[in-house]
Symmetry: C2
DNA sequence: TTTCGTGCAAATGGTTTGCAGTGGC
DNA sequence: GCCACTGCAAACCATTTGCACGAAA
């Protein structure tokens, strides 16, 4: 996603929720936007540091919490640690039970079935995580 | 699942993998079989203790690892802790992002779409976790 | 100026590990 | 008897929390 677009969206969403637009929030959104996959809190912190930024790890955690609550960021529990990604749109993942690799799933087929199934139990779905074995680990 | 059936299956699977049939493994399998939902390591440990059994918590973890590797048990990463359940068959769950409640999803519709989608990326699916908001938390 | 957000450091708690002893095969 | 498995206690490490300072509105 384009940095300017992220900045704009971030500002807008934060304002809508009466949350302040801070550099911590922006740099985390930027970092997530610059990454193709999901990142852990530690990875985000590391990337910001490497890029010359400065942000305390506990602030990363707190900020991710707020952003998750606000719906800007999406949380994905993993085997050992939680990872985060920009909440772009219904976003489906395949997580390998052995090596932990996360890959995106092209959603269309799944989306319809999901909607129907979720409706049956009054559940409002945000994303689907399929766990199993990735191609490499099937050996 | 019936205790005798569990015991038999446990013995059989363990033997097939040259793993020993121990009381720790059996009591964990029993505990999981007696529960309708998934349980955390701590809950399993607590239930065994309450039932008069004795099993060290670290043994519970190690045993669950081995059983998971063996495919007897199924691991489900949650927000704060990992939970485990008997690996009975493609098993689908809806996990609430807010309260963490796990509910089962009647699978049929989802299962077909899943199979097709997974095949496209050569992923071998074991289970599907839908995250979102449960009915109670949609308020 | 009033809150809300952040840095820092210490605490928390689920999970892992080293080592010595025990039980399955 | 051999070696995988277990108990115990200590270590680990991701995440959380308390408090005081600093910055957004």
């Amino acid at each position: 996603m384009h940095p300017d677009h992220i900045r704009a969206r971030c500002r807008e969403e934060l304002r809508a929720r009466r949350m302040r637009f801070t550099s911590a929030r922006l740099s985390i959104m930027d970092t997530l936007g610059a990454s193709t996959g999901h990142l852990s809190a530690a990875e985000i912190h590391h990337r910001i540091s490497t890029a010359g930024g400065h942000l305390n790890l506990s602030t990363v955690y707190r900020t991710l919490d707020r952003l998750t609550e606000s719906g800007l960021v999406h949380r994905l529990p993993g085997q050992a640690q939680v990872t985060y990604g920009l909440a772009v749109e219904p976003h489906h993942h395949a997580v390998c039970n052995r090596c932990g690799t996360i890959q995106e799933i092209p959603a269309p087929a799944l989306a319809d079935a999901l909607r129907a199934t979720a409706k049956a139990i009054a559940f409002r779905p945000e994303s689907v995580v399929v766990t199993g074995l990735c191609p490499a680990c099937q050996a």
